[in-house]
Symmetry: C2
Subunit: 142 residues, 2 copies
């Protein structure tokens, strides 16, 4: 790196647009009182909700099922150059819920193909209650 | 993507080697009962500890200071191809502590340059109590 980076906050719209421009991020949660994180692929729906797939029995699925009143998850994506240390990061934090509407489930199962060889049969949506994002720039402009 | 990916676990040594091969990751913690995550640069010390810098007043610094018996943080790094969906992810979870030895602080302040224009005057070490890592591969081999 050649100098210090500026952290420049971005607005909610820009943050959600960037989040929707990449195919993977990391879901962040608390698992048995410990901080936990899993890389997953995702998409952003028309209302800024973050949609992910998981499988019955996963820590995330268990959390969402066990919580009658809902559980809060965070979701992070970034694109930061390892050499230049410039780029962006976005974090969405909000209530997570199981998507149960059959039509929506079918749509997301097609739109959000599972990466891995597990039956990813649960669709979870994270409500974008809190959206934060910033640019890391060399000169203060994105 | 052309097919399903296999998740192939890796051993602790390989996981820590990969973690040390990249300059940035994400620290994961609980902030006022909510899951939280921040991208940071890091290094891995000779005992597998993850060293990060932060500033007095940050959420992470406050957590580590407030907790007499220590606080558990997680740290994640990955390198996953957005197109091919192959690569790796490593998560270290363990007790975090403030590095206070003056010589060690000075060493890390030089070895781990801050990216951003904040006074990053705290060095935190995460003990690698739990280390998990996996490869995402197309055919089951890294």
């Amino acid at each position: 790196m050649t100098g210090e980076r500026q952290m420049v906050p971005m607005d909610r719209y820009e943050a959600l647009s960037l989040l929707g421009s990449v195919s993977m991020g990391r879901v962040v949660f608390t698992d048995q009182a410990l901080p936990a994180i899993r890389p997953v692929n995702h998409l952003v729906d028309g209302n800024g909700g973050v949609i992910i797939r998981t499988h019955v029995g996963s820590a995330i699925s268990s959390l969402v099922h066990a919580s009658g009143s809902g559980v809060v998850l965070a979701f992070e994506a970034d694109d930061i150059d390892q050499e230049k240390h410039t780029g962006w990061s976005v974090v969405v934090t909000g209530m997570a819920s199981l998507v149960e509407d059959a039509e929506a489930v079918s749509h997301y199962e097609h739109a959000l193909r599972s990466w891995v060889n597990y039956p990813m049969d649960q669709i979870i949506r994270i409500q974008p209650d809190l959206v934060t994002g910033y640019w890391l720039t060399a000169d203060g402009s994105p």
